[in-house]
């Protein structure tokens, strides 16, 4: 079964990525987590995402397309990265979510691939 872990990061977390004083600790947290995930042999795909302010959001209203700067939606915590893992069930996926270096993780099961 494949599940996607969506890691939400706070403004603080995003700032730590580029702050020389906190950058190393921030990256180390992810490095160890990714190490454990890879050694478990369950990773299907994983990637961090650039900060939300670099995002562009496309919205279609009626027939019109509007493109705006920034993420959707505008909330305090933003998607910072994802991991797709292959584990037996939601319990196991949540167990891995709990080990992540951020405070908010959403877990969803992946739909089977379209034929």
């Amino acid at each position: 079964m494949s599940y996607t872990l969506l890691f939400y990061e706070s403004q603080e977390d995003f700032a730590a990525r580029t702050d020389p004083e906190r950058q190393e600790a921030y990256l180390a947290g992810w490095t160890h987590y990714v190490h454990a995930l890879r050694e478990a042999g369950i990773v299907v795909f994983g990637s961090g995402l650039y900060a939300p302010e670099t995002a562009a959001t496309l919205k279609r209203r009626g027939g019109d397309v509007a493109v705006q700067d920034g993420p959707f939606p505008e909330t305090k915590e933003q998607l910072g990265g994802i991991f797709v893992i292959d584990v037996p069930d939601m319990d196991a996926a949540l167990e891995w979510a709990a080990r992540g270096p951020v405070d908010t993780v959403e877990v969803r099961q992946n739909l089977p691939a379209l034929k």
Binding site: Y33, A36, R99
Partner: protein, 411 residues
């Protein structure tokens, strides 16, 4: 204890007693739960007007039984009504059927029922927490890191099974009773373990550890001389005594060996020692007594100023033979390393099949520690990294990171 917690505890105690009493007789925990829910609701409506009755529990019991009988009347399909009617007949014929004044405390029977072999072992603890202590499914789900709706479904299924298969608290074979009691102890210990992790994660609210100790004390009331019950309670109290010492002022995790003994709760330690001593009188050793004895040796550091690691290693030797779990193997390796050197500890650790430890955090934390002591720094860094990546507790992650950072400049 603050007053609202006393009220909460009293209400929960009443709930657990009523639910256990009715379930043991009606054999349908879901129906009983609904009927009790109605009874509590009626109390909320009636008591403000009429005042709290002299015997609130008897009042609740009367209403709940009336609801159960009403419900049974409404069940049209005779096949479905039959088990209920049988249960009613049984209760009517029961010599101690309550007149409304006093009724037996059946919470031990309820705990035994929750630990029935037909109930999935993973669900025994959640079921016990819900029925005996009245905890809600959402709280139980968070403690076990399970999706709340999934936890609710599993609890419902377990209760449906009790009804459908007419499970009883007493094993058909009296010789199976000790094994059933052992499953109860296992379930209580699982509640303590989950509470321990939860507390480590920095939660300030009441953790499941307290609930587990409450269950342990309750068990002891029913079987005051059973050595393993005493052992389990002693074990939990010894661990609980160190709660305040597990974190320093800044919230950093402090491992047992580095803990300030003056922060240990001497009252709890004394209570644990009393129970362990009482257990030893039975002359029947068991795994919970062994685990409690190990914690007791650690506690002796308060008096002697040193930890008798060889005694601890010996106790783990016995524990591994009695209960060959991953946790026991890893802890034995740690004790042997302290008593006889890192090399011997590492040899034991390395003998554990690697497939079993891939995601077992304590294994990697210990491996990091031992490699470091053996000056094998590259391996130490790698093991610490695995341990950090497998930790669900931020304070533990930070502690391991500090340990690992100290190795950075080493070849």
């Amino acid at each position: 204890m603050e007053s609202h917690r006393i009220v909460e505890r009293t209400a929960r105690e009443a709930y657990g007693r009523l639910l256990s009493y009715l379930t043991v007789r009606w054999r349908d925990p879901q129906d009983v739960e609904d009927a009790l829910g109605d009874a509590f609701l009626s109390a909320l409506e009636a008591w403000p007007k009429t005042g709290i009755p002299d015997k609130p529990e008897a009042w609740l019991l009367t209403i709940a039984r009336r609801r159960l009988i009403d419900r049974a009347r409404r069940v049209r399909v005779s096949a479905e009504a039959l088990p209920t009617l049988l249960a009613m007949a049984e209760e009517a014929g029961h010599p101690s059927a309550p007149s409304g004044a006093e009724w037996p405390d059946e919470r031990l029977a309820m705990m035994l029922l929750c630990a029935h072999p037909a109930i999935d072992p993973a669900m025994r603890t959640p079921l016990m927490l819900q029925t005996v202590l009245g905890l809600d499914a959402a709280r139980i789900a968070s403690a076990f890191i399970v999706k709340p709706s999934t936890m609710s479904q599993r609890l419902t299924r377990a209760k449906a099974k009790i009804r459908a298969e007419r499970l009883t608290f007493e094993p058909a074979d009296a010789e199976a009773l000790p094994a059933r009691l052992d499953s109860v102890l296992e379930a209580v210990y699982a509640a303590y373990g989950s509470g321990w992790d939860e507390a480590a994660a920095g939660s300030s609210g009441g953790s499941l550890a307290e609930e587990a100790i409450e269950l342990g004390r309750l068990l002891l009331r029913f079987v005051p001389r059973e050595p393993e019950v005493l052992g389990l309670l002693a074990l939990m109290l010894h661990c609980e005594a160190r709660r305040a010492a597990r974190h320093d002022g800044e919230g950093n995790y402090v491992p047992l060996s580095g803990q300030d003994g003056t922060k240990w709760d001497r009252g709890l330690i004394a209570e644990a020692e009393r129970h362990l001593h009482a257990a030893s009188q039975a002359g029947r050793i068991g795994r919970f007594q062994l685990m409690a004895a190990i914690q007791s040796v650690h506690a002796q550091r308060l008096r002697t100023g040193r930890t008798e690691w060889d005694a601890i290693a010996q106790l783990y030797e016995g524990l591994v033979r009695m209960q060959p779990t991953l946790g026991a193997f890893v802890s034995r390796s740690a004790a042997v390393a302290e008593a006889y050197g890192a090399d011997r500890g590492m040899a034991l650790l390395a003998s554990i099949p690697s497939a079993e430890v891939a995601n077992y955090q304590p294994y990697w934390a210990l491996a990091g520690h031992l490699y470091k002591r053996m000056h094998r720094y590259a391996e130490a860094r790698s093991a610490y990294s695995r341990a950090i990546g497998l930790s669900a507790d931020g304070a533990v992650r930070r502690f391991l990171t500090r340990q690992s950072d100290g190795l950075r400049m080493r070849p």
